[in-house]
């Protein structure tokens, strides 16, 4: 295997190739693709949390000039597959959660469609609903496994006995609320139906995923479904799979053949239709010996799921492998409710789970009287605790040590509540971060040599804004041993060869490995001086090291906070993240990804909280005024650093995914810092002011 990890192009801070188009706004996103004479679709949503539609009177809406159709369960076509309830729209009058799609108006303009939607009269039969997240037996069950493919609960040794015998013990319960992905670009689709072919200009995290899920639902040959996602305004997991609006647009386009149908969800509609991070309640019990070594670890997580479709977040999964502990119990349960379907949100599992675990680690460090950095170093495992496999690379300790040095941690006075200036209490905190290094097999790439002397590289991947377009061009240039200017990369649609989803921080690793393989085969077939028109398509070889090593990225998050002693207001003037995530492909875009993750982590720590009203089953603060995401003035100095890590096993480039690890551990670091500032331990996100006024 050629080792491409040692030459110059990887790592260079190449400017984003789509930068000029983005700063001028000329990069066209899904809803902005030019189509002739479009119609506009406005979804109708259920106003009750459970029951059925007994009557839906669309006639006043249909009477409005400019309305072409109103789709409902009474007139929608019967779908070929109803396996995915989110996609099987309008197949019955049943309502499983508030905000569920019960129809759609299609009209000449958005204004007419919105007006007509308000004229549709719906009569419901209401059934009792249950939407309040809690740990009551009647709604709790143990799922067969958790996202992404985590098996059953783990029980090693004897946790109860070890806890009883432990010198030090911590037993605490942490809660995290429902959090909403809220990419800035709302989910949008344009569906065009022409001669039995469906074209979707769609904002998504994988055009092939959309094709693979939409085609069978419509009973179509996948080859007849064409999906384009040229530019995507963020997804953070919520665009990982297609949601109801894509099907609505497709059904409307099929019905009204000849006119493209445009559908963009409103910010409010997104709160019930595109997923969210489910609320969790997590109990962590830790036991340690007199030397500050963990002897027992128990992490029991409970997350919300929807009655209409299971989503099992894996909040306790990181605790399987994070630290030493001879006795270990990891359990995951779900509370099933009449609520919208949760989904992936940046670092699903780790983001919420590491908040709990890393807060508990801080509590235990204090209990043992050991510095929190030192305490983590003391509990560093040599091999992956669950599987016993060696780590392909694990540099958590170096991240902690380097971060401590950079942050000025080493002179820290551990005493809480003593640093007070102008009415503000300040403190510092630390937490560890981890995220698995996934690679998804099965992607293909084509490389062709074109007139003009450049290499055309095609892969049906997608750039959510992470910089894949730029990073993959660099990887291709490296693998082909040509300057990056000689590479023209094409991605973002099913017109290119099949590629895996942009999710689980797997994109650059999976697609990059594929491009490297294609480059090798291209050179083997066509040599260093190929003829014009030379072309090779290849699929990445399976990683021979998979299954022999535990592969994860690591990081250390440091935060300084200030809490107002009178108002409880909490500010984060300074954050530092140090990461060990393999080879960094592009220093500029990588830094932005870490920075973005950390900023979203700050937002999670301080602001984000979807408030569900149990009486009606809806999120009360369902817009960007009520659901606050961090704004510019919420963010202070954010420093990002990484180690020069060489991992010979993860993939031929030695890279690990970096899209998600940046958010992991931030909320714990901030909460731990707030405890250092005030002496108050808050175990409930978000860390809002009233929680510091006791």
């Amino acid at each position: 295997m050629t080792d491409v990890s040692n030459s110059g192009k990887l790592g260079e801070p190449l400017e984003r190739l789509d930068g000029p188009a983005k700063v001028t706004g000329t990069a066209r996103y899904a809803f902005e693709q030019p189509v002739d004479d479009p119609l506009y679709l406005h979804p109708l949503q259920a106003d009750i949390a459970r029951g059925r539609v007994v009557r839906i009177d669309t006639s006043p809406a249909e009477a409005l000039s400019g309305v072409h159709t109103v789709l409902t369960h009474e007139n929608a076509e019967s779908l070929s597959s109803r396996v995915d309830v989110e996609l099987a729209v309008l197949q019955s009058p049943e309502i499983g959660y508030r905000g569920q799609v019960i129809g759609a108006v299609v009209a000449d303009t958005q204004e007419i469609a919105a007006h007509a939607a308000g004229l549709v009269e719906v009569t419901y039969e209401r059934h009792p609903h249950d939407t309040v997240f809690r740990s009551d037996d009647e709604i709790v069950y143990t799922p067969d496994g958790s996202n992404p493919m985590i098996g059953e609960d783990l029980d090693r040794g004897d946790v109860d006995e070890a806890l009883a015998a432990a010198e030090y013990a911590v037993d605490a319960t942490y809660t995290t609320p429902a959090e909403y992905n809220n990419p800035m670009e709302p989910h949008a689709t344009i569906a065009v139906w022409e001669s039995a072919e469906l074209t979707l200009y769609d904002s998504n995290q994988g055009s092939y995923t959309v094709r693979d899920m939409i085609a069978p639902t419509l009973g179509m040959d996948p080859q007849r479904v064409h999906v384009f996602a040229p530019h995507v305004g963020g997804g953070f997991g919520s665009k990982g799979v297609p949601h109801a609006h894509v099907m609505l647009a497709a059904l409307a386009a099929r019905k009204l053949e000849g006119r493209p149908v445009k559908c963009a969800l409103s910010r409010r509609q997104m709160f019930s239709l595109v997923g969210y991070r489910p609320p969790t309640r997590q109990r962590v019990r830790l036991g340690a010996d007199s030397a500050g070594r963990l002897t027992a670890t128990e992490h029991s997580a409970l997350e919300q799921t929807a009655r209409v479709k299971e989503y099992a977040e894996q909040s306790a999964s990181a605790a399987r492998n994070m630290y030493v502990s001879a006795n270990r119990r990891i359990t995951n349960e779900l509370a099933v409710l009449d609520v919208p379907v949760p989904t992936w949100m940046r670092a699903p599992g780790e983001a919420g789970g590491m908040y709990a675990l890393e807060t508990a680690m801080d509590e235990m460090a204090l209990t043992c009287g050991v510095d929190p950095v030192e305490f983590r170093v003391r509990n560093e495992p040599e091999r992956a605790p669950e599987s016993g496999l060696p780590f392909s690379s694990r540099n958590l300790v170096s991240c902690l040590r380097q971060g401590a040095e950079m942050f000025g941690w080493n002179d820290r006075d551990p005493e809480p509540g003593v640093r007070r200036e102008n009415g503000w209490l300040s403190g510092t905190g630390v937490a560890a971060a981890t995220f698995p290094s996934f690679s998804i097999p099965g992607s293909k790439a084509t490389i062709g040599y074109e007139p003009g002397g450049y290499y055309r590289v095609e892969i049906g991947a997608v750039d959510l804004g992470t910089g894949s377009r730029t990073a993959l061009s660099q990887i291709a240039a490296e693998a082909l041993e040509v300057p990056v200017e000689a590479v023209r990369l094409h991605l973002g649609s099913t017109e290119q060869p099949r590629a895996s989803i942009a999710g689980g921080s797997s994109g650059t690793a999976s697609w990059g490995s594929t491009i490297v393989q294609a480059a090798r085969e291209f050179r083997a077939e066509h040599g260093a001086e190929p003829a014009e028109g030379a072309e090779t398509t290849a699929e990445a070889a399976a990683n021979p090291a998979a299954g022999e090593y535990a592969m994860n990225a690591y990081g250390a998050q440091f935060a300084e906070v200030a809490v107002n002693a009178d108002s409880g207001e909490i500010r984060v003037p300074r954050m530092l993240g140090v990461f060990a995530a393999g080879r960094i492909v592009n220093a500029r875009t990588a830094r932005s990804q870490f920075l973005g993750g950390m900023t979203m982590g700050l937002s999670m720590a301080l602001h984000e909280h979807g408030v569900l009203d149990g009486r009606f089953g809806h999120v009360v603060n369902h817009d960007l005024a009520g659901y606050h995401v961090a704004g510019n003035a919420d963010v202070g100095s954010v420093e990002v650093s990484w180690l020069d890590e060489h991992d010979p096993h993860v993939n031929p480039m030695g890279i690990k995914g970096i899209g998600e690890i940046g958010i992991v551990g931030v909320a714990a670091a901030i909460g731990n810092a707030a405890r250092h500032a005030t002496g108050i331990r808050v175990r409930e996100l978000p860390l809002t002011p009233e929680k510091f006024l006791i």
């Binding site: 706004g25 932005s592 963010v635």
Partner: protein, 167 residues
């Protein structure tokens, strides 16, 4: 009800008839094909739709097109001259002040408008001395740019970009 209006958009005079319920943002995007301003919320809560309206930054989703007859609209696309990026755009490129780019045209129009406001001596919520011309430090930039959300979390880079462009 429809009404005929004339707008100057990025230097071009355009006359069109609009539904009186159509926002300026939708008139630009759906009627005129000017998609540089983005729709992130349609409620004045995110800033993605920010344009310069008669020279001042404005959220174009919060104003009806018909109310802006004879106005001058400049979008991020119109800020670039002859393919050359505006200094604020160049600073965003140099500082990687974005990821997905969806908030970016709004951020850039907002920054251009904001810099003019500072030049005109307008104070902000964090300006200490109301008698002196405001000094554009990082805290001022953060405060004045807080109407523009960025879910990709590029704020730290946006602040560096604007600081650089202001120099």
């Amino acid at each position: 009800m429809d009404a005929e209006i004339t707008l100057r958009v990025d230097g071009q005079r355009r006359t069109l008839s609009v539904d009186t319920r159509t926002t300026l943002l939708d008139a630009l995007r759906e009627r005129m094909g000017v998609t540089s301003p983005k729709k992130g919320c349609d409620h004045g809560q995110c800033g993605a739709c920010t344009v310069l309206l008669d020279g001042r930054r404005a959220t174009s989703c919060l104003t009806f097109a018909v109310a802006n007859d004879d106005s001058e609209v400049v979008t991020a696309e119109g800020l670039a001259e002859d393919e050359r990026p505006h200094p604020v755009q160049q600073a965003f490129l140099d500082n990687d002040g974005f990821q997905c780019g969806y908030c970016t045209p709004g951020q850039i129009c907002s920054a251009v408008g904001m810099l003019d406001e500072v030049k005109a001596g307008w104070p902000s919520h964090v300006t200490e001395d109301l008698d002196e011309p405001p000094e554009l430090d990082d805290e001022e930039i953060r405060e004045r740019m807080s109407g523009n959300l960025c879910r990709c979390g590029a704020y730290a880079n946006i602040v560096s970009a604007i600081r650089e462009a202001a120099e």
